[in-house]
Amino acid sequence: MQLKKSLHAKKTTPVKKPLQGKKPLHVKKPKSISGALATATCALLGTHLPHPAAASEPFKNWEYDSALLYYSEQDRVTAVEPVISARNDMGNDQFLNFKFVVDALSGASANGAVPADKTQTFSGPSGQKSYSVAPNETPLDPTFEDTRFAANVLWEKPTSRYLKALLGANFSTETDYTSLGVSATFTYDANNKNTTLSAGASFSHDTVSPIGGAPDPFTEVPTSSTSGGENEGDDDGEGGEGEGGETKNVTDLLFGVTQVLSRHTLTQFNYSIGQSSGYLTDPYKLLTVVDPVTGDLVPAVDPNNTYRYLHERRPDSRTRQSVYWKTNHQFTDDVVYLTYRYYWDDWDVKSHTVDLRYRYELGRHHYLQPHARYYQQTAANFYRYYLVDGEPLPQYASADYRLGDMTTTTFGLLYGAELGKNSEFTFRAEYMKQSNQGYPADAIGKLRDYNLSPDVKAIILQASYNVKF
C-alpha cells in the first residue's frame, strides 16, 4: 500500500509541474516521465535515486560578492582595494566562504615630527631615500608605499538544531608585515529562535619585519643615509623577537546576544575583550626633541645627523575592551540601522562610536542609504606631541596622531539597485574628516604658532556587485 502511494506521489509531481510553469507542456513532459519512471523503478527495487544535481552540487549555489574601494586623503595616502568573496551553499545549512583582498597603498603619512622654521631632512625607512620638509610644514614621509594581500576562509556548520559553529582562518602579507590567524564562533538559538547567544574567540600571530630592521626605541633617528647605522638592527629589548623580525600575538574573545524584539526590530549586544602582546611600536614613527624654552629643533648628538629626533616606544602589551550595540528596525519598507560602541583599553584610550544608516526605498528595486558616523577618542597616556630636551625620557612615548585626542566624522550616501532577482549593485561616496587638538595649551615657544596635528580629510568611493547562482 505504501509502495503504491509513493509511486503515485512520484508520478504526479513531475506531471503537475509543467502545467504550472510557463514552458510548453511537450518540452518538459518526456523528461519528467523518464524521471518518474526511474524513480518508480528505484522505488520498486528498493534503491535510492541519486539527486540529479548531486554530482555538480559543490559548484552550484555560489554567491559572489565583489567590491572596488578607492580611498584618498588630501595630500596624503591613497588606497585602491579590490575585494572578492565567494560563498558556497553546501546544503544542510552549511556554508563555505572565501574572501580575497588586495590593498595597494601609496602616498605620504605623518612621521610624528613637529613643524619647524627650518628645512628638515629625514632618511626614509630603507635608509636609501631621504626627503626634505619645507619650513613651517607638517613633516610627512612621502616614501610610503605598500601592497597587502589578504585571504580569508570561513566555514559555517550547524552542529545541532540550535547550535552553529563558524570556523575561520586568515592570512595576510605585505612588505614588512605578515599575519596568520584562526577564529571560532559558536551561536546558540533559543526562545524559538528569537534569541541567539554567541561566543567567539580569535587568535593571530603577526610578524613585523621593518624595512632596515626594527630600530631600538628612543635612539636617535638618522637624518641622512650615511648616519646612524649603529642604531639600526633587530631590537633586543622590546616585545617578542622572531627570526624573521618582531612578533605580535593578538587574542580576542566576544560574548553576544541577539534578540528579535518584534516582527520589525532586531537588536544585538556584544562584549569583547582582547589582548595584544609583543611588538606594538610603529618602527617608522619618531618624536622631535625640542628646546625647553624656544620650542626650536635641537642639534643631534650624532655629528652625522642634523637635528635630534628619537624613535618612538610603546608598551609591549595592550588590553582592549568594548561594548557594542546594534539595532535594525524596519518601518513600512525603509530600514534604520543604529550602532553604538564604547571602547576602552589600558593605554587609557576611551572612545565612543555612533553609526547611523537609513535605507530609504526609492521603489521596489532600488534604494538610497545615507550614512553618518561619529567617533571620539581620548589620547593614549604616552601620547606626546614632542619630547623636551634636558627632561628625563618617559617610559613610553609616541607622537602618532592616531593615539591622540581625536574626533572622526563621516558622511556618506549609498545607492543600491537590485538587478534581477539574484544580483545587486551598490555605489557609495563618503567624506571622512579627522580632527585633532592641533594647538595644545602647553605648547612651548614657537610651537604655539603651529598646528601640531592638522586635520586629515579623505574621500571614500566604492562600487560593489553581488550575484547569486
Binding site: S179, G181, G200, R263, T426
Partner: protein, 76 residues
C-alpha cells in the same frame, strides 16, 4: 564626567531593552518574513563593513566590537 554617564546610559540601554524583550510577545516562525529579508540581516553588506573596519582600524586607536577574526594589518 557627563561623558561617563552618557557611556553608562548607552551601555545599559541594550540591557534594559533586552529585559523588556522578555515581556514582549514572541515572534512566531511564520511572522519572520521581514526579518528574513537581506536588508534586515545584522550585516546586510559584509564586504562594505569589512572595508570600513579596515579603514577605521588603520586610522583610529579603537577597533573591534562587531565580531572576532578578520586578520591583522601592519597599518596600525
Amino acid at each position: 564626567m557627563p561623558r561617563i554617564y552618557l557611556a553608562l546610559f548607552l551601555a545599559l540601554l541594550p540591557l534594559v531593552v533586552l529585559t523588556q524583550a522578555c515581556s514582549l510577545e514572541r515572534v512566531k516562525p511564520w511572522e519572520r518574513d521581514l526579518l528574513a529579508e537581506k536588508k534586515m540581516q545584522l550585516d546586510p553588506h559584509p564586504l562594505e563593513s569589512g572595508l570600513d573596519e579596515h579603514i577605521y582600524f588603520s586610522k583610529e586607536a579603537s577597533s573591534g566590537g562587531a565580531g572576532v577574526g578578520g586578520g591583522g594589518c601592519g597599518c596600525n
